[in-house]
Symmetry: C2
Subunit: 376 residues, 2 copies
């Protein structure tokens, strides 16, 4: 087992990565202590795959269990579904010693975390992520949220889990697009934070495409390690440090929004967004900003190459090839959407931009015309 | 100005008590720094009284202001109203540098605090309480919440304000029942936490009934001081220490619930509940629990006397005299309701019980028959 500590004082916890650990869910939950009840939340995709296995592991440890199955998909990150969970928790007698467990991807994790953060002003919360995206990103760090019709993740809380258990074996059951989506975030970690890791990914393309469980366990662990370090430095995105985790995301969110949530997997937006961010950095370099001198065509092409070898879209046009008709992504509309992003402050555009391989900065107040230029 | 620090490390703030401070709201908010926008929330009772005064004070300091007026009453502590606030905040471009301001009583404070805690995972929040109840209790300590149809405060967050500004002059405009309701909490502080304060209240009955602003400012300050100390010791009700603030509340909540929220003012339930808690302590003493030996008829009568001199109900039967027909408060139903209280753990009944004047303990696992006995 690889165990990665997330160090946040009285909110510290471990991310445990181990093959076939789903069967140990009951042991892990019982070890939290004083558990009056386990509230297991999953969606109707995950339930037939892993519901029985995890439920049995919990009941076998003598814990009281309630199960809630929600519809799969981003639509479940809604106030209506959150409301139904609060009511369900109350109906089954959940108290402050109960633990909410999210078994699933980012939607189930974000939703369950938000409901746990707010039910009776906060009960414990445990993550068992089953998608690559959730394993390397959303399950670690305490960001929980639901969507409003006008904006993704607009309602939520910073609320750390009591623990995260990752079983890399579950990645074998992921549909191809979802698996690739997670790889979009994996590349992001390498490109923006860890040169050595990026180079390892370049060398392991074949094993990654073959979903080698051993390699995947190590990749997930390194992503969690990188994320844990940054979260420990800036848990609530106050200093700006945590924002570096959003490399590629300002563009990515705007692309996702303009196409309609869920039209493309999240990581596809991130992979295209990362390359757009690199192009934006190169543009600023060409205009004399020396911080971005290392970001040239060679650098950008290396990122494009890894992206394409892992069968991820590198350009907006790739989405058209992949999803049929070229989708509507007018540059003006994208810039407009980015100006309502949560990272917006006082109406200015802010981006995470690469400065060299494995390094990046958070830059505020970028002119909309520079952003438009790299989109056209 | 009396300034009371609430010491919670990076979440510390001051409670500032000063007559005519409403006019200084803009100065206080501007001093928080980096304020992109002020979102002022009040209800339709408070708006005609103080809306213009506070709005002008904010605009005069050059701050961008949006105002939301919600219907007065507990019904506004609902997910529907919270939702409308989230949408309003988003529509008016509120970002992470915006500050939500609650101008009003406990409903507006709890609701606005919850919305601030969860909008974009948390924006700053400032309290300007206008009822005695909110000034001495709900505005300090970071408890925010909305209700579910099946339970009060079932959804919420521990979320500290960035500051609290109290103007004792606004108490002059309070309807009599609301003023008395706040006094119910004031007596609670004395009886359960501060003998000297209780004795001061006994001596100042006349001035309190005449709403002497100077005396009220000092009373509010002492309540905030007592609460701040306990909140600093146990911000999130983990050690059990914070629970002592709920003296009288387990009975009180059950009484409020059985009558329907809002049928009686919150503090009336607390004042009756405090005396029931004292009777429960006396019963345990009579059964041999030496911790409660000081709680006898003399003690109870002293609490009843102060309660009655401040024109508060001391007994369930008083509610009938005050609100017309004697309301339905079957002992069995009250015990049943208490067993779903948030302070319930593993289904046992827990109470804050007095041990002597100005002291109390949190006692777990009390037998339902003892609780029934003091209700009948």
């Amino acid at each position: 087992m690889i165990s990665i500590p997330v160090e946040l004082k009285d909110r510290s916890y471990d991310v445990d990565i181990e093959s076939h650990s789903l069967e140990r869910a009951g042991v892990a939950l019982a070890s939290l202590g004083s558990v009056s009840r386990v509230l297991l939340v999953m969606d109707d995709n995950v339930e037939p795959l892993y519901g029985e296995r995890v439920s049995s592991a919990i009941v076998d440890r003598g814990l009281d269990l309630d199960v809630v199955v929600i519809p799969a998909g981003e639509e479940s990150k809604s106030i209506d579904v959150a409301y139904s969970l609060w009511e369900h928790f109350l109906d089954c007698g959940a108290d402050r010693h109960s633990v909410a467990v999210a078994l699933g991807g980012g939607v189930v994790g974000d939703l369950t975390g938000f409901v746990a953060a707010t039910y009776q002003r906060g009960i414990r919360f445990y993550q068992i992520p089953t998608t690559l995206l959730a394993q390397v990103d959303s399950s670690v760090g305490g960001k929980t949220a639901i969507d409003l019709p006008k904006g993704k993740n607009m309602v939520g809380a910073f609320y750390q889990p009591s623990g995260v258990m990752i079983d890399p074996e579950v990645l074998q059951s992921l549909p191809d697009d979802q698996y690739r989506s997670g790889l979009g975030e994996v590349i992001k970690y390498g490109a923006s934070l860890d040169k050595t890791f990026f180079e390892t990914l370049e060398k392991q393309v074949e094993q990654i495409n073959a979903r080698d469980s051993d390699i995947l366990g190590k990749i997930v662990a390194q992503c969690c390690r990188l994320k844990a370090k940054i979260v420990a430095e800036d848990e609530k995105e106050i200093s700006g440090r945590r924002a570096v985790l959003n490399y590629g995301h300002t563009f990515g969110h705007a692309i996702e929004t303009t196409l309609g949530y869920g039209t493309i997997p999240h990581g596809f937006g991130v992979s295209i967004g990362s390359i757009l961010a690199a192009r934006l950095a190169a543009r600023l370099a060409s205009k004399g900003d020396k911080r971005f001198n290392s970001i040239d065509e060679t650098w950008i092409n290396r990122q494009i190459e890894l992206t394409q070898k892992l069968h991820l879209p590198a350009f907006l046009a790739d989405l058209g090839r992949r999803f049929g008709d070229s989708p509507e992504t007018s540059p003006q509309r994208l810039v407009e959407l980015m100006s309502t992003d949560k990272k917006t402050e006082f109406g200015k555009l802010n981006f995470i931009l690469p400065t060299s391989l494995g390094e990046c900065v958070y830059l505020r107040g970028i002119a909309p015309e520079d952003v438009l230029a790299v989109l056209t």
